[in-house]
Amino acid sequence: MTKRDWQSITLSAVLLAVAACLPLTGDAYMLSIGITIAMYAVLATSWALFSGPTHYISMATAAFFGLGTYTTAIGIENGLNYWVTLPIAAVLGAVLAVLVGLATLRLSGVYFVIFTLGLAELVRQVVTWGQNVSGQKGLYVLTDITEVHIYWQLLVLAAIVYLTGWAIGRSRLGFALRIIGDDEEVARHSGINTSRAKILLFMVSGATAAVVGSVLAPRYIYIEPALAFTPMLSFLVVIMALLGGTGRLWGPLVGVIPFTLLWEAISASFPNQTTLLLGLSFLVIVYLLPRGFVGLIESGKRKLREREAFA
């Protein structure tokens, strides 16, 4: 490992430690925003691990998230310990990712987007149907887990996701993914098993989203399909990741923090126009910041270097 790696690891550890102190302020509102930021940071970062290098835009986050939420709810209802439901959710998320991957990763571009969007909806309808048959409307998730616990769990998850992303970035798999994103034909002819590489990364992303759903389940107390599988979640994750930029591991986080705060303000001031404003922000980001904040920062750095070269 180089000196720079150690520097980034130290910096990340310090930031994480500072973030972990947030509950000490005792401010319930701050904690609630902290949870939302941590949740989207994990979701957007793990989304970008797959979609960043490959440019396959997945709209299935809600499917994995809901799967995790329901795994924990059903698990607890049937007498399982909460902590046992987390690894189960991870495994189920990975399995769903493999199934989706086998079915769709041969598709490219817009077909993949539509399929993943449809998948989340399909899973939601199946769960709704299942509940109608069983006569239940939703499920209660009653635990003694507090908001602070949820927050800390999300931070641990964030640390795991960053470490995983960092390790993948330095591995053959990470290099293979970048080649696939540049030119899949070249990747295949260079000897890369493209389907396997894509499915592996999609599993990481899917399992993470499922665990986030599990962790969040106790917060909702009462869950129903419309809440757990809301397509809004998938959209928000994509927007935040794109706003931050997917070219760097820390990119999505840079998008998550301002967007969550903006979103809080929008939801509080214009509760009836949220969808409209979400669409507008999507347009603004795609038109003005196609490569996100990361792109902005990097082109700024390049300009600065060029100016120095002239000086």
Partner: protein, 245 residues
């Protein structure tokens, strides 16, 4: 130079697209250290034949084998790993990466797999071989046309293939570049590499190929040394039409 062991052989290789027979019952062998030219008029099925060998397309019928082992049922990735590497008719580079990273792709995932400093050192050696080591850290967008072709060639060489497929590698070069290009491939030939060359440039065919296979409308119409096939009346008819034969 056709005394070596057979490396690649096609037996009855056929590709149909619906009613169109693009490649019809192709038979030929490539022996070790040989440079084989695959020539013929436009649309005669040369590139499709190359695509069948590299696994970009799967043959409808027939078999292709590498050192006696059938490979025609394998994916392009598996075929690349077994040691057949290709360049593309329209150069394909990895646009977000530097020259060195492009070449590293071949070194990391190809027939002989390397990683880390070893892969970088090997990629640099390949860049030196094609005369581009000074531009290792350049972005591929900054390169001239012939240099993009050099990068692609270096990427392919970096995988240490047993058979090298060059799909019109010399096409589109200006006269000076063409000379450099021919000299470069000649050097590969002198190193004893096994190469299949799809080519239109006659000078290159005459000076580089040990043997030629001539295709017309998907079928092999002649096989032999460049002098033999280029003076074959049927080959002349295929290229120029009936009246001139």
């Amino acid at each position: 130079m056709t005394t070596g062991a057979t490396v690649l052989s096609l037996r009855g290789a056929t590709k149909r697209f619906g009613g169109l027979v693009a490649v019809n019952d192709m038979d030929f062998d490539v022996t070790e250290h040989e440079v084989l030219g695959l020539i013929g008029p436009n649309g005669s099925g040369k590139s499709t034949t190359l695509n069948l060998i590299s696994g970009a397309l799967r043959p409808t019928e027939g078999t292709i084998s590498l050192r006696g082992t059938p490979i025609s049922h394998l994916s392009a990735a598996d075929i690349a790993r077994r040691g057949i590497a290709r360049t593309f008719q329209l150069v394909r580079l990895l646009p977000s990466m530097t020259v060195l990273e492009n070449v590293r792709a071949g070194a990391v995932f190809g027939h002989r797999r390397r990683w880390g400093a070893e892969a970088d050192a090997h990629a640099l050696r390949m860049l030196a071989l094609v005369g581009l080591d000074r531009r290792a850290n350049a972005h591929v967008g900054e390169l001239t046309y012939i240099d993009t072709k050099r990068v692609e060639l270096a990427r392919v060489l970096a995988s240490e293939p047993k058979v090298l497929l060059l799909d019109e590698w010399l096409a589109g070069l200006n006269p000076t570049e063409l000379e450099e290009g021919i000299a470069l491939i000649k050097r590969l030939r002198d190193e004893g590499r096994t190469i299949i060359l799809v080519e239109h440039v006659m000078d290159a065919i005459r000076s580089l190929c040990d043997r030629c296979v001539v295709m017309s409308t998907g079928t092999k119409i002649a096989e032999g040394t460049p002098e033999q096939v280029l003076s074959d009346p049927e080959v002349i008819r295929a290229y120029l039409g009936d009246d001139d034969a």
